[in-house]
């Protein structure tokens, strides 16, 4: 019986393709889930026609039960591309699934016109509806995968963005932190800092937390861990970029940062680091001459 349904379905699809396409596109256009802001009618029509073609080929191959069958590969491919692109465009899962589900109505109408007995109609209806449901589920699955790909990519980009270790001077490293510190990020920050300490032979590292929005006990603990790890490698760490509110928060929370050198700005920390290295920033002779000539004030 499924074989019979398959042949009749393939028959309907090949003989009424144009008619079916029109009805289907019409259903999609009037559906509540239609997103006219995200996709144009012409594109919708093109996608529908492509899928219908692939659907017909698969139905002609005769396997309606198993959508994993190689004969369904082109149709699956099309659905995968469509779901991924819709996930990127910002469609919701149900809006995406409606693409396949809205094919039911036109297909049932066509089946009804064709099949004679009630029993065979019910049979055809059942196999068609299961098939379309499977395809719709597949769409949702691909949609989900597309979303997950986006999330993974963004997470990856975020991690890469957030952990640069810069060399400020010979033997002085800076680690500007941006964003909240969680354990995973602390691990990565620590690893890259220690790696850089080994590579450059730095003896001082400045951890700048200007870009860290809030410092709670957990973040403070992660900072202290990084400082301790740096110390074990023989590098002193200075924490800089502590904003007034954060200083207040740290005190209110009772976090003890007394074991670490802390400075308000990166410039102050850099001055300390230079001092440790026995270095000093001095104005050039020209600058000194200009100052004595014009009496301008210095900002050292």
């Amino acid at each position: 019986m499924p074989a019979n349904t398959a042949s009749s379905l393939a028959d309907i699809l090949s003989s009424n393709e144009e008619q079916l396409l029109n009805a289907w596109v019409k259903h999609q256009l009037i559906a509540k889930t239609r997103r006219s802001d995200l996709i144009k009618e012409a594109d919708l029509r093109r996608e529908s026609a492509e899928f219908l073609g692939a659907f017909r080929q698969a139905a002609e191959a005769g396997d309606l039960e198993n959508v994993d069958h190689p004969s369904w590969a082109p149709a699956r491919e099309l659905l995968a591309d469509l779901s991924r692109s819709r996930a990127r465009q910002g469609f919701s899962p149900s809006e995406t699934a409606t693409f396949v589900l809205s094919l039911k109505q036109p297909l049932f109408d066509a089946l009804q016109q064709r099949t004679g007995s009630v029993e065979s109609f019910a049979m055809a209806l059942w196999s068609t509806t299961t098939l379309l449901d499977k395809l719709a589920l597949l769409t949702t699955e691909y949609y989900q995968k597309g979303r997950e790909e986006i999330i993974t990519r963004q997470q990856h980009e975020l991690l890469e963005l957030s952990t640069p270790v810069v060399k400020l001077w010979d033997g002085i490293l800076a680690l500007p932190l941006i964003g909240t510190l969680d354990s995973e990020r602390t691990q990565i920050v620590m690893e890259s800092l220690l790696q850089q300490i080994v590579e450059t032979g730095a003896s001082i590292a400045i951890i700048d937390i200007t870009g860290v929005p809030t410092v709670d006990t957990l973040v403070a603990q992660h900072l202290l861990k990084t400082v301790a790890a740096g110390r074990l490698m023989g590098a002193d760490c200075i924490i800089s970029g502590i904003r007034p509110q954060i200083a207040a928060t740290i005190v209110h929370l009772g976090v003890d940062l007394s074991a670490v050198i802390t400075k308000a700005s990166l410039a102050d920390a850099f001055a300390v680091a230079l001092g440790r290295r026995g270095l000093k920033v001095t104005p050039t002779a020209q600058r000194l001459r200009e100052e004595s000539d014009h009496g301008t004030d210095s900002d050292s």
């Binding site: 691990q187 620590m190 690893e191 220690l194 790696q195 300490i197 080994v198 032979g201 730095a202 003896s203 861990k225 301790a228 790890a229 740096g230 110390r231 074990l232 490698m233 023989g234 590098a235």
Partner: protein
Amino acid sequence: MERIPILKLDDFLLVSIQVDMHDQLAMTLQDDLTDRIVRTHARGVLVDISALDVVDSFIGRMLGNIAAMSRVLDADTVVVGMRPAVAITLVELGLSLPGIRTALNVDKGMELLRKARTLNVSDSNHGRQRR
């Protein structure tokens, strides 16, 4: 019997730990080291752990002991050459080796010891004495 060699470098002693530590070896090392500090009048001890993949609480405590013993005999201790992975593990375990000075490599460790020595000597008004 297995022994960890102790090398004399200027005023300092260099200990490079390259084998797995166990109780007996640690005891022998501590005995040998205190003995050598007294005999050679060493001013500092460098402990190189760059060959160690794993540093556990046992080795951590041993390093602490060595540092404390050397301090009693008026010698500074610097632990050098810790690997990044080891440092991260120690910190995650909550063992940040308090009271032990650290440096990146033997060169920097020597520099640190010399600097500390110069400061101490000039503080006590004995003038600088090198070698």
